[in-house]
């Protein structure tokens, strides 16, 4: 699954699609999905809720998982945010 897509900068192991869902669902789904990963793997979370830009780093800070970064993809009609989290424990 690594290195998929052309303009994909951050590599991930598993993708979680939360498109169309508002707060708190992306965070709740992330907290469930992260359990399926092994330590060191990177989870990619797709969201069109702008709140994810602040919420996911905050979630990482509280839970102790590593915040890798965010990518934005301007699509019509909404921007898709790709948040990357590395499982640390």
């Amino acid at each position: 699954m690594r290195g998929k897509g052309d303009n994909h900068m951050i590599e991930s192991d598993i993708t979680l699609d939360t498109l169309g869902y508002f707060c708190p669902m992306p965070i709740i789904l992330t907290s469930k999905k992260i359990k399926e990963l092994t330590t060191g793997q990177v989870l990619e979370v797709l969201s069109d809720d702008e709140g994810i830009k602040k919420d996911m780093p905050a979630w990482c800070q509280t839970t102790g998982h590593e915040w890798v970064g965010l990518e934005e993809e301007a699509t019509d009609p909404k921007t898709v945010y790709k948040a990357y989290v590395k499982k640390t424990k």
Binding site: G20, Y21, F22, C23, P24, M25, I27, I28, T30, S31, A58, W59, T62, T63
Partner: protein
Amino acid sequence: MTMTQVEPTAALAELQESKPERVTIVLLSGDMDKAMAAFIIATGAAAMGMQVTMFFTFWGLNVIRKPGATNTAKDLLRKSFGWLNKGGAASLPLSKFNYGGLGTTMMKKVMRDNHMPGVPELIETAQDLGVKMIACTTTLGLLGISKETLIDGVDQLAGVSTYLAEAKDGSVNLFI
């Protein structure tokens, strides 16, 4: 098998480190919007690894009553009160623009169209994430609500001391 001696101070430090942050929420209101806010914070906190306890009192009890549950009071005053004070997470009114239920119906449609979970779905998620739910015994009695008419998964019935015992260790304590 060899037993390793654990130094007490180290064990305590480890315990304190692993101790999750506590959040308590008192839900006094039985309005849909306020119940949503309470459950969004509760589920969000639980997803962040915090230990969440919710206390339901007065109109907040309506949120955790089974749909269509009637009041079981014997005396006429409380009985008649039960006819007016209906429960059920799916039938809560908005605190504003309810317009006899029309505004709430419209709001629910907008929420559904936008994949937003309603109060019943949020309660399910909260229970799934291990949010503890406590009903206040005093107001249960006052409103003539029997514990059998509360939804499954309400962890306990308790009073103010239980709330305070939890809240004093809480880093986030909310009253909604």
